[in-house]
Amino acid sequence: MKRAASPAARSRRSLLVAALTTAALLLAGGSLAQPAPAAPTAPSAPTAPSAPTAPSAPAAPSAPTAPAAPSGSAGTASTPAQAGGGSDVEISDRAYAIARELRCPVCTAESVADSSAEIAGEMRRLIQQQLDAGKSKEQILRYFRRRYGDWILLDPPKTGLHLVVWLLPLLALLGGAAALVLLVRRWRAAAESVPDAPDEDLQRVRAALDARKDDT
């Protein structure tokens, strides 16, 4: 036999649906917040592969002239960058803060500041170098964006289509809160209202009550 759900049960179900919808929207927002797919071909971790068997080195008068290494820390306080392959360089707090905004190209969801990958270490050096050369944070971020695109920013810029990523979680939260308010109102109204019962049933109840009165 088909039975109608009680108002309380209906409300609970609606609440569940609202909660699940909010969660789904938040999830969708979260997945959008990772804008472009991650970097291509991350190199295998810089653990040395089997070293090539080296024939005798050619008569080498001189090593290639290596570009001068950038100077180390320049800011007031220094934060030791995480050691990586060749990346054990001290960078200033300012450089570290900028590096935290950049995505390590060969990592998954890791910032240039936190990664121990070789390229991340070199990017930290470049940031420090550019700060030492008097460039601003915006100029340095622009330098990397020009090359890698917006993908290089861990936080997508708050402009254009990227705004969706920032607004969606907020909209989902607001929607969830509004749904909750509506449901609670309906809940209360349902609790306060007298349940409808067929006249037949009411007459039977009255008769039963009258009968009890007569007995006493």
Partner: protein, 180 residues
């Protein structure tokens, strides 16, 4: 009944999202390069000794304007770089007479000069190779990993970027493209 349908639909969507997240596998790494269709960034690369007599101490991209070029980024620790190296050398020998110049850039490999020399010797590279010691050329080219290979046409425009080791199909197609 309508409510039941809604609940089932919501649960189905959530389950779908969950399963998608669970099984979508590694992210798509085929990110298009910002450089395609643009001028190849200029760089000056300190060359290994064996190439200096022919190309000078430093290889400058500007000095080879008008030459179709293949720029290959590699590192001594990168296994796929070992895999593709014989193919690169073979194609260079095949195409050098057609005016194509290959250049090897050892990057993300700070200070590993000896490993670089061993690599070059092992594969008998005859095209110029140098060390991008601070990976600044790699950043200029928005490198994600190694190996990566750029194909640059006579006008100095980047026409293609190969992520991962090159294959004969890629080499045939893209060398044809930059020679056109």
């Amino acid at each position: 009944m309508r409510r039941l349908i809604v609940v089932v639909a919501v649960v189905a969507v959530l389950t779908g999202l969950f399963l998608y997240g669970l099984f979508r596998g590694p992210p798509n790494r085929d990110v298009p390069s910002n450089l395609i269709g643009k001028s190849a960034p200029q760089f000056t690369l300190p060359l290994y000794e064996r190439f200096q007599s022919e190309y000078g101490t430093n290889f400058s991209l500007d000095a080879h304007k008008g030459t179709p070029m293949v720029i290959n980024f590699w590192a001594s620790w990168c296994t796929p770089c070992f895999d593709e190296a014989p193919l690169l050398e073979r194609y260079y020998r095949q195409y050098r007479h057609k005016g194509v110049l290959f250049v090897g850039v050892q990057t993300q490999d700070r200070g590993k000069y000896d490993a670089g020399r061993q690599f070059i010797d092992r594969f008998g590279y005859t095209f110029p190779v140098g060390m991008d010691n601070d990976s600044s050329i790699g950043v200029e080219y928005a490198l994600f990993g190694v190996p990566e290979t750029y194909f640059v046409d006579r006008a100095g425009t980047v026409v293609y970027k190969q992520i991962g080791p090159v294959t004969p199909a890629v080499m045939d197609r893209e060398l044809g493209a930059i020679l056109r």
